[in-house]
Symmetry: C2
């Protein structure tokens, strides 16, 4: 094994270790996030896969105080939306999907990428779920003036962490494994 | 900034760079994957967030030839299931969700983590979508003898890459950004 391959492997191990450290962060410092970092976060979200490679989701930055306050009126349990440096609203575009409903799945993959990119950049983030809960979706439609044809999926609060939750317990959980058709259980 | 903080930041940048390199891999070598690596991949999937921290999804390894062949009978476009080192079937557990439908979202986040962990470990992976497409779900129910109460979400083929697709174009795509309520566009 050459030196280059060794260093690629080592980098990958570090990346996987960092992935495993992700925790939900709901409290933030007052520090802002620069535009370059915002673009890197959005690019990571956009790089998540979509079914049939369709442009099935969109992204909007929510940062104006008026917009944030309206979120809390309609979705009072979305408190991190107010204290964060900014929020990303992930939106589905059902008409761009090859098959009905894939926007939901594609938006979730993009949201997870956004959380991981934040972790890698030393930022905190929390996923506030909207879809597919009808009540939350109706509240988000009241809170935001959404472009036609787009469906609210999630709101992600982002910022410099203002809390340091304890590391997660061991992620590997035997109780989440099932055996199907005689397959192995590692 | 001290040396330790610099090295943490550098590691995070490398991890983000690796995240951006993920591509769908549909061809694999005949090389197997060791059990420790399988566990690391499953642990990464299990570390994805779930709504209200519920155990809303399960994981099964699909590796027996008979099971793989049955997949191709019912879902002929799932060809990578046969040539891969092994497959992970991601299953939703609707009865474990706090609110109806969140299993779909939670399964998608776990599937994305699985793809990223594979990328970090130098492996290839492709997400073969099942839910929420009713036709695919019915086919997967015929292909697999599923435990009661669990719903097929995705099948992920994993192995040593047998193809090297061109790097993706720039992920950041202005056309995926929308402005909502006067929010900024980075």
């Amino acid at each position: 094994m050459d030196v280059n391959r060794r260093s690629v492997e080592a980098a990958g191990r570090v990346a996987l270790d960092l992935l495993m450290t992700r925790r939900s962060i709901r409290a933030f410092t007052k520090e802002g996030i620069d535009e370059e970092t915002k673009r890197a976060l959005l690019a990571a979200a956009m790089s998540a896969p979509t079914a049939h490679g369709r442009k099935s989701r969109r992204f909007a930055v929510v940062d104006r105080p008026e917009a944030r306050k309206r979120v809390l009126v309609e979705l009072p349990w979305f408190a991190p939306a107010l204290g964060s440096a900014f929020n990303v609203l992930v939106l589905g575009s059902p008409s761009d999907c090859a098959q009905e409903g894939y926007w939901l799945v594609d938006c979730a993959a993009a949201t997870e990428n956004l959380l991981l990119a934040a972790t890698f950049l030393g930022l905190g983030a929390v996923w506030m779920g909207i879809a597919p809960i009808e009540e939350n979706m109706a509240a988000a439609r009241r809170a935001f003036d959404l472009p036609e044809g787009l469906v609210p999926f999630s709101l992600v609060a982002l910022g410099k962490p203002g809390e340091a939750p304890a590391p997660r317990e061991e992620a590997y959980d035997d109780s989440l494994l099932v055996r199907v058709d005689g397959g192995s259980v590692p």
